[in-house]
C-alpha cells in the first residue's frame, strides 16, 4: 500500500485549495466555476474509489499529518465505515454538478463554496481527531450557510441566518463536549481516546458522561433531531434548488456519520451500554424524531419542506439504530445513511426539475404532473417508493437491518416504531403520489360553479367537466398547467424559456432512482463491507 495514504490529505486539501481558483479565474473569465468543480470532483471520485478499494482489500489506510505522533498530531483515517461515506460524498458532489450546469445557481463564487463544502465533508469522513472534526464541522457549516443564502429572496437569508445561529450553537456544544473529554483523557485522537476512555470513566465518570451529553446534544442539533430540527426545514426549503440535493444528501449524512463514529469508535459499545439510561435516551430521541418528523411532513404544503421533515424522521431512524447497540442495527444505520442520501438527493433534484419546468412547488400544484412529465414523475415515484421501504430498494435494506437490530436487542417498543415508520412514510409519500397520478390538474382556486347546483349528486359531473376543460386547455399548450390562478399562459411560457430542463438534470434524477432500486439488491454486499472487519473490531 506504499504511498496510497498520501491521497488522504489530498482529498481534503485539493478541493479546499482549488476553491480559490474559480474566484481568481473569475477576474478574467465569466463561467469557469463549473468546469473547475467538475474536474475537481471527478478527480475526487477517482481518488476515493481508489482508496476505498484499498481499504476493502488491504484494510485501514492511515496518514499522520506532518509525521507527528497520533497523541499530539492529526491523524487521517479511512476505514471500512468512513470509506463508504467518502465515496458517497465524492460521487454525490460530482453527480449534482450535472444538475447545476444548467439548472443550478451559477457564478464562480457559488462553485468556490461548493468545493469548500466538498472538502469539508471529505474532511469529516477521513479525520481521526475529535478537534479536527470540529474544524471540519465548522467549514461545512460555513459553506452551507453561504450556499443557502445564495437563494433568491429574503427567505433564503433568514433561513441561512437561522441555520447559522443554531448550527453554531450545535458545533459549540460539540466543542464543549470535546473539551470535557480532553480534560478527562488528555488526548484528542480517536484511536487513542478509545483506548484511554475506559480508564477515564473509571476515574471520573461524571466528566466523561458530561462530555458525551454535550456531544450528543450538539449532534442532535446538527443532525436535526426533534425538537432541535427547526433550522432544517427552512434551510432545505429556501436553499436554491440546485444545492438542496447536496445539502440534504450529504451534510446531515456526514454529521450523522461523525456521530456514529464518536459513539462506536471513541466511546465504544461498552460505554454506551454500561452508562445508565444512555441508550434509552438516544433511542428515545430517535424514535420521537421518527414520529414527529413524519407527522410534521404530512401536514406540509411545500414539497421541499415536506422532504425536509422526512429527513428529520429518517435520521431519527438512524439515531435510534445507533442507540440499539447491536451489530445489525449498526449495519442498518450505515446502509440507511447511504440509501437515504441517494434517495433524498434524487427527490430534491426531482423537485427542482419540477419547479423549474412546471413551476410547481406545493403538493397541490403537483396535481396532474404524471401526464405532463411522465419521466420525472415516474422517477419521483420510484424514489418515494424506495423511501417508504418497499423492496427491492435502498430504503428497505436499511429498514430490514435496523428492525432486525431492534428485535435482537429485544426492545419491542422501538421495533414497533421502526416498523410503523413505514406507514408514517407512506402517509406523506402517498399523498404526493396520489396528487401526481390520480388528481387531474384542476384550477384549485376557481370557485366550483357546481356548488349552487342541485343536491342530487350532480356535482361530480360538473367537476369532471371542468377537469376535462382544463385538460383540453393543457392539450393546447403542453407543459402549461391549467392550475395557476394567474392562468397567464404567456407568463408561464416565458418562465419556461428561463428555466429549461437539461439532460443533466434529468440524468441525475434517473440515476439516483435507479441507484436507489439497485442498492436494494446490495444488502448482503453492503453488510459485507462492514462485517466482519469493522464490526468485530468495534463490538469486541
Amino acid at each position: 500500500m506504499s504511498s496510497v495514504d498520501l491521497l488522504l490529505p489530498l482529498l481534503v486539501a485539493v478541493p479546499m485549495l482549488l476553491s480559490t481558483v474559480p474566484i481568481v479565474l473569475g477576474l478574467r473569465f465569466d463561467r469557469t466555476g463549473w468546469s473547475v468543480a467538475a474536474l475537481t470532483t471527478t478527480a475526487l471520485v477517482a481518488a476515493t474509489t481508489t482508496l476505498a478499494s484499498v481499504v476493502y482489500t488491504d484494510g485501514v489506510v492511515t496518514h499522520r499529518l506532518g509525521g507527528w505522533s497520533p497523541a499530539y498530531g492529526i491523524e487521517l483515517v479511512l476505514d471500512e465505515f468512513s470509506a463508504l461515506i467518502a465515496v458517497l460524498v465524492a460521487v454525490t458532489a460530482a453527480g449534482v454538478l450535472a444538475y447545476t450546469r444548467v439548472g443550478g445557481p451559477r457564478g464562480n463564487t457559488f462553485y468556490s463554496g461548493y468545493l469548500l463544502l466538498t472538502g469539508g465533508l471529505l474532511g469529516i469522513s477521513v479525520t481521526g481527531d475529535v478537534f479536527n472534526l470540529f474544524v471540519f464541522l465548522e467549514i461545512v457549516g460555513l459553506a452551507t450557510y453561504a450556499m443557502i443564502a445564495s437563494g433568491d429572496g429574503p427567505e433564503s437569508a433568514v433561513a441561512a441566518l437561522k441555520y447559522l445561529i443554531l448550527g453554531t450553537v450545535g458545533a459549540s456544544m460539540y466543542l464543549i463536549g470535546v473539551g470535557l473529554i480532553f480534560m478527562a483523557t488528555g488526548t484528542l485522537n480517536m484511536g487513542v481516546l478509545a483506548e484511554v476512555l475506559p480508564a477515564a470513566v473509571e476515574r471520573d465518570p461524571t466528566l466523561v458522561r458530561a462530555g458525551f451529553a454535550f456531544v450528543f446534544v450538539g449532534f442532535s442539533m446538527k443532525v436535526a433531531q426533534w425538537p432541535l430540527h427547526t433550522w432544517q426545514p427552512d434551510a432545505y426549503q429556501h436553499a436554491p434548488d440546485g444545492i438542496t440535493p447536496v445539502i440534504a444528501a450529504l451534510v446531515s449524512t456526514a454529521y450523522a456519520y461523525a456521530f456514529g463514529r464518536l459513539l462506536y469508535s471513541v466511546f465504544g459499545p461498552e460505554f454506551l451500554t454500561s452508562t445508565p439510561y444512555l441508550t434509552e435516551l438516544v433511542v428515545t430521541v430517535g424514535c420521537v424524531s421518527v414520529v414527529a418528523g413524519s407527522a410534521l411532513a404530512v401536514i406540509q404544503t411545500d414539497v421541499k419542506r415536506m422532504f425536509a421533515f422526512s429527513s428529520v424522521s429518517q435520521f431519527g431512524l438512524i439515531v435510534a439504530a445507533y442507540g440499539l447497540v447491536t451489530e445489525s442495527a449498526f449495519i442498518g444505520a450505515t446502509i440507511h445513511l447511504v440509501g437515504h442520501a441517494v434517495i433524498k438527493a434524487g427527490l430534491f433534484a426531482a423537485a427542482g426539475v419540477i419547479a423549474a419546468s412546471y413551476d410547481a412547488r406545493t403538493v397541490d400544484e403537483y396535481a396532474g404532473l404524471a401526464d405532463e412529465h411522465p419521466l420525472v414523475a415516474g422517477m419521483m415515484a420510484l424514489l418515494l417508493v424506495s423511501l417508504i421501504g418497499i423492496p427491492p430498494s435502498a430504503g428497505f435494506v436499511g429498514k430490514w437491518y435496523i428492525a432486525l437490530g431492534a428485535v435482537e436487542a429485544q426492545l419491542w417498543p422501538v421495533a414497533v416504531v421502526i416498523l410503523f415508520s413505514t406507514l408514517l412514510t407512506l402517509a406523506y409519500s402517498a399523498r404526493l403520489l396520489e396528487k401526481m397520478y390520480f388528481t387531474p390538474a384542476t384550477p384549485l382556486e376557481a370557485p366550483h360553479v357546481s356548488e349552487s347546483v342541485a343536491t342530487d349528486g350532480g356535482e361530480n359531473e360538473d367537476d369532471a367537466e371542468t377537469a376535462a376543460g382544463a385538460d383540453a386547455a393543457n392539450d393546447g399548450d403542453a407543459g402549461t398547467r391549467g392550475g395557476t390562478e394567474t392562468a397567464a399562459l404567456d407568463a408561464t411560457a416565458t418562465n419556461r424559456d428561463r428555466n429549461t430542463v437539461s439532460y443533466g438534470m434529468l440524468a441525475l434524477v434517473v440515476a439516483t432512482a435507479l441507484l436507489a432500486i439497485s442498492l436494494g439488491f446490495a444488502g448482503g454486499f453492503l453488510a459485507g463491507l462492514l462485517d466482519p472487519s469493522f464490526i468485530t473490531e468495534v463490538f469486541n
Binding site: 445489525s328 449495519i331 417508493v385 417508504i388 421501504g389 418497499i390 423492496p391 427491492p392 435494506v397 429498514k399 430490514w400 437491518y401 428492525a403 432486525l404 428485535v407 435482537e408 421495533a415 416498523l419 410503523f420 413505514t422 406507514l423 407512506l426 402517498a430 396520489e434 397520478y437 390520480f438 388528481t439 387531474p440 343536491t455 342530487d456 349528486g457 350532480g458 356535482e459 361530480n460 359531473e461 367537476d463 369532471a464 367537466e465 377537469a467 376535462a468 385538460d471 383540453a472 392539450d475 439488491f521 446490495a522 444488502g523 448482503g524 454486499f525 453488510a527 459485507g528 462485517d531
Partner: protein
C-alpha cells in the same frame, strides 16, 4: 431440486411485458397484443414445469447462485417452483390469458382513460403474483407481496375521481399495514428465532422450518406472537375480518381488476401466504405443539382463534352481502366469505380440510371470476350496476346471466360445480377431527345456505321477473328490522285497500333512500359524504345511481381525449346515446338478444371459457391438475404416501409424519 431459470422467466415475462406495453402506448392493438402474448408465454412456462413438479422436482433459481449477489446478509433471493407455488402460479397465469382478452373488451367498451397505465399495472400485478407463488423464503415473498400492493394501487385508484382516490388510500393503508409493518415484523422475528438456535433462515420447508421448530421450543411466546404476526400480515390481503373493509371499497376499480386481482391474484396471495405459513413455515406439528393457554378455557390450539375468526368472517360477510344492492359489492362480500373458507380449511389443520382449502383456491377463482366478468359485461352493455335494476335482464344478456348462474351455484357449493368438491373435503376434515370442530362444519353449511340466499335473487330477477313487473326486495329496500311506520287506521282489516298498500310500499322505498342520505349528511357537504360512504340503500335514480352515471360520463369525456390515438372515436359517439338510460332497463324494456349478439366476443369468450372451467373442476377435478397438486401438497406436508393414510383424527394424521 434442480437449478433452473424457469421460475425467474415466468416472473420476468410479464415484467418485460410492462415495458413493451408502455413502449407501444400509441398502438392499442399491439399493446393489448403484448398482454395476451405475455399471458400465453407465462402460462406456457408455468405449464412446462407442471409435469416435473408433480413428479417431485423443484425448479429453483437463486440470486446468489446465479449472480453471486447476496440479497440480505444470510438471506438469498430465491424463486422456486414447488407444489404449492405451482398451484397458485398455474391458476393466476391461466386466468390471466382470458382476463387480458376480457380487459381489452371491457376497457374499450367503456372507452376508459389511461389504458396504457392500466394494462401495464395489470401485467406488473401478474408478475408479482407469480413471484409470490414461486417465492422460496419469507423475505422473497415479502418483496413480491409489497410489490403487488404497490402495482395494484394504480388499478384501484384508476378512475381518478374522489371515490376512487379514497378507495386507493384505504387500499394502500391496509395493504402496507399488513405487508410493510406486520408481515415484515413477522419475517424479522422468524429470522431472529431461527438465529437463536442455529443458522438464521427464512426458507420454506415442506412441513415447517426445522430451525423454527427448535426456536419455538425455546421461546414459545415469541413463536406464538410471530405466528400471529405472519398470519395477520397475510390475512389483510385475504380480507379476514376485521381487516376486510378495503376489499369492498376496492370495487371502484374496473371490473377486470375486481375479477382477476380482487377475487384471484391479490386476495389469494393472502390466502396462499397463510398456506405457506401454516404448511411450510410452522408446519401443522409445530402449531399443534404451541397451544395457547387461555384463562378460563384452558389450552387452545394456536390455530383455533384463526379458525374462529375465519368462521365468523364467512358467516358475517355472507349476511352483509345479503343487503348489498350494488352487484360488485355483493360479490366483494361474497369473496370475503369465500376466502375465509380457505383460511378456515387451512386452520383446521386436518389434511382433508387443508386439501379442501387448497382446492378451493382454484375452485373459487374460476367461479368468482365468472361472476365478476358477468357483472362487468352487464355494466359495459347496459350500465346497470344495481341488482334492483336487473329485473328481466336475462333476455338482454342470456349467455352472461346463464354463466352467472353457474358461478353462483359454484359459490353455494352445488354438486357438479367446482365449489362442491372443496367444500366436501373441508367438511370431511372437520368431521374427522370431530369435537367442537362441528361448529366449523356448521358454519360452512350455513354459509352455503346464505350463498343461495344472496345469489338466487339475482338469478331470479334476471330470468323470472320482467322490468315492469317485479317484486319488492325487502332485504335491500327496507331498513333493517322492517319499516318503522305508523300504520294507523288507514289499513282496513278486510284487505280492501290494495292500492294504498302498494303506495305505502313505494313510500317505504324513497323513505329508505332519503333516510339513509339525511342521516349521513349535513346540507353543506352533501355530495362528498355520499361519495365517501356510498350507501347501498340508494334506490335507482338516487345519488348512488347518478354518481355511477357521472363516472361513466367523465370517463367518456376524458377517454375521448386520451384516446387521441385514433382508436374508436366513432364508437364514443355511439356511446353517448347509450347514456340516455342508466342503471336499469331502457324505457321500452330490454331488447331481446341472442347469446351471440349480446356483447362483444372479447368478453363473451372469456366468460364462457371460465364458466366451463368451473364446471370441469366440479365434474372431473381429478383430471384438471389442481386436485392432483393439492393432494401432493398435503401428502408431502404430512409425509404420507397417499391420502388414504391420512384419514382419521388429526393426531393420527400427524403420527404418519413422525
Amino acid at each position: 431440486m434442480s437449478g433452473s431459470i424457469l421460475p425467474l422467466a415466468a416472473v420476468l415475462t410479464s415484467a418485460v411485458a410492462v415495458v413493451l406495453i408502455v413502449a407501444s402506448y400509441r398502438r392499442p392493438n399491439i399493446r393489448e397484443g403484448w398482454s395476451v402474448l405475455a399471458a400465453l408465454t407465462q402460462f406456457g412456462i408455468v405449464l412446462s414445469m407442471l409435469p416435473g413438479v408433480l413428479d417431485g422436482t423443484v425448479y429453483e433459481w437463486s440470486l446468489q447462485q446465479s449472480l453471486g449477489v447476496e440479497f440480505l446478509d444470510g438471506i438469498d433471493f430465491v424463486l422456486r417452483a414447488d407444489l404449492l407455488g405451482m398451484l397458485f402460479a398455474l391458476l393466476a397465469s391461466f386466468l390471466w390469458i382470458f382476463t387480458s382478452f376480457y380487459a381489452t373488451g371491457y376497457m374499450r367498451g367503456l372507452d376508459e382513460h389511461d389504458q396504457t397505465r392500466f394494462f401495464a399495472a395489470f401485467a406488473a400485478s401478474l408478475s408479482s403474483a407469480v413471484g409470490i407463488a414461486f417465492a422460496g423464503n419469507l423475505v422473497t415473498i415479502f418483496v413480491f407481496y409489497e410489490l403487488l400492493s404497490l402495482v395494484t394501487y394504480p388499478l384501484v385508484a384508476h378512475d381518478g375521481d374522489r371515490e376512487a382516490r379514497i378507495a386507493g388510500r384505504k387500499y394502500i393503508a391496509y395493504t402496507f399495514f399488513g405487508g410493510g409493518v406486520i408481515l415484515l415484523a413477522g419475517t424479522v422475528m422468524v429470522y431472529w428465532l431461527t438465529s437463536q438456535t442455529g443458522t438464521a433462515t427464512t426458507a420454506f420447508e415442506s412441513g415447517g422450518i426445522g430451525a423454527l421448530a427448535e426456536g419455538a421450543a425455546t421461546d414459545p411466546t415469541a413463536a406464538q406472537i410471530t405466528f400471529y404476526l405472519l398470519i395477520t400480515g397475510f390475512a389483510v390481503k385475504a380480507a379476514v375480518m376485521p381487516l376486510h373493509s378495503w376489499l369492498a371499497d376496492a370495487m371502484v376499480a374496473p371490473t377486470p381488476v375486481s375479477g382477476l386481482l380482487h377475487a384471484v391474484a391479490v386476495v389469494k396471495s393472502g390466502a396462499f401466504g397463510i398456506a405457506r405459513v401454516i404448511l411450510e413455515v410452522y408446519g401443522p406439528e409445530t402449531i399443534r405443539d404451541l397451544p395457547l393457554s387461555v384463562p378460563g378455557i384452558g389450552e387452545v390450539g394456536l390455530n383455533v382463534p384463526l379458525a374462529i375468526l375465519a368462521a365468523f368472517t364467512l358467516t358475517a360477510a355472507s349476511i352483509i352481502a345479503l343487503r348489498k344492492d350494488h352487484l360488485k359489492r355483493r360479490l366483494a362480500y361474497s369473496t370475503t366469505a369465500q376466502l375465509s373458507y380457505i383460511v378456515l380449511g387451512l386452520s383446521m389443520l386436518h389434511p382433508y380440510a387443508i386439501l379442501g382449502a387448497l382446492f378451493h383456491i382454484p375452485a373459487h377463482a374460476f367461479a368468482k371470476l365468472t361472476l365478476f366478468f358477468c357483472a362487468g359485461s352487464v355494466h359495459v352493455e347496459t350500465h346497470t350496476d344495481y341488482i334492483s335494476d336487473m329485473a328481466g335482464i336475462g333476455k338482454r344478456m342470456p349467455l352472461t346471466m346463464s354463466a352467472f348462474t353457474i358461478g353462483a351455484a359454484g359459490m353455494a357449493g352445488m354438486p357438479l360445480i367446482a365449489g362442491f368438491v372443496s367444500k366436501f373435503y373441508m367438511l370431511l376434515g372437520a368431521g374427522y377431527v370431530g369435537g367442537e370442530y362441528w361448529l366449523f362444519a356448521a358454519a360452512l353449511l350455513l354459509s352455503g345456505v346464505l350463498n343461495i340466499a344472496y345469489f338466487w335473487p339475482v338469478v331470479y330477477t334476471a330470468f323470472f321477473e320482467s322490468e315492469d313487473r317485479h317484486d319488492a326486495k325487502p332485504l335491500l329496500e327496507f331498513p333493517a328490522g322492517g319499516i318503522r311506520q305508523f300504520v294507523g287506521d288507514e289499513l282496513a282489516t278486510d284487505g280492501g285497500k290494495r292500492d294504498e298498500e302498494t303506495e305505502l310500499n313505494s313510500d317505504g322505498d324513497s323513505g329508505a333512500g332519503a333516510g339513509a342520505d339525511s342521516d349521513a349528511d349535513s346540507e353543506a357537504d352533501y355530495e362528498y359524504a355520499v361519495d365517501r360512504y356510498p350507501s347501498d340503500a340508494d334506490v335507482p335514480g338516487g345519488p348512488g345511481g347518478s354518481s355511477a352515471e357521472d363516472d361513466v360520463d367523465s370517463s367518456v369525456k376524458t377517454g375521448t381525449e386520451t384516446a387521441g390515438t385514433g382508436h374508436d372515436h366513432g364508437h364514443a359517439g355511439a356511446h353517448d346515446d347509450h347514456h340516455e338510460h342508466h342503471g336499469g332497463p331502457p324505457a321500452d324494456g330490454w331488447t331481446r338478444h341472442s347469446p351471440l349478439t349480446e356483447s362483444t366476443w372479447l368478453m363473451l369468450g372469456p366468460i364462457a371459457v371460465i364458466a366451463t372451467g368451473a364446471v370441469v373442476l366440479g365434474i372431473i377435478p381429478g383430471h384438471a391438475a389442481f386436485l392432483d397438486l393439492a393432494t401432493e401438497i398435503v401428502t408431502s406436508v404430512f409425509d404420507a404416501d397417499s391420502l388414504e393414510q391420512l384419514r382419521g383424527p388429526l393426531s393420527a394424521a400427524l403420527e404418519v409424519s413422525s
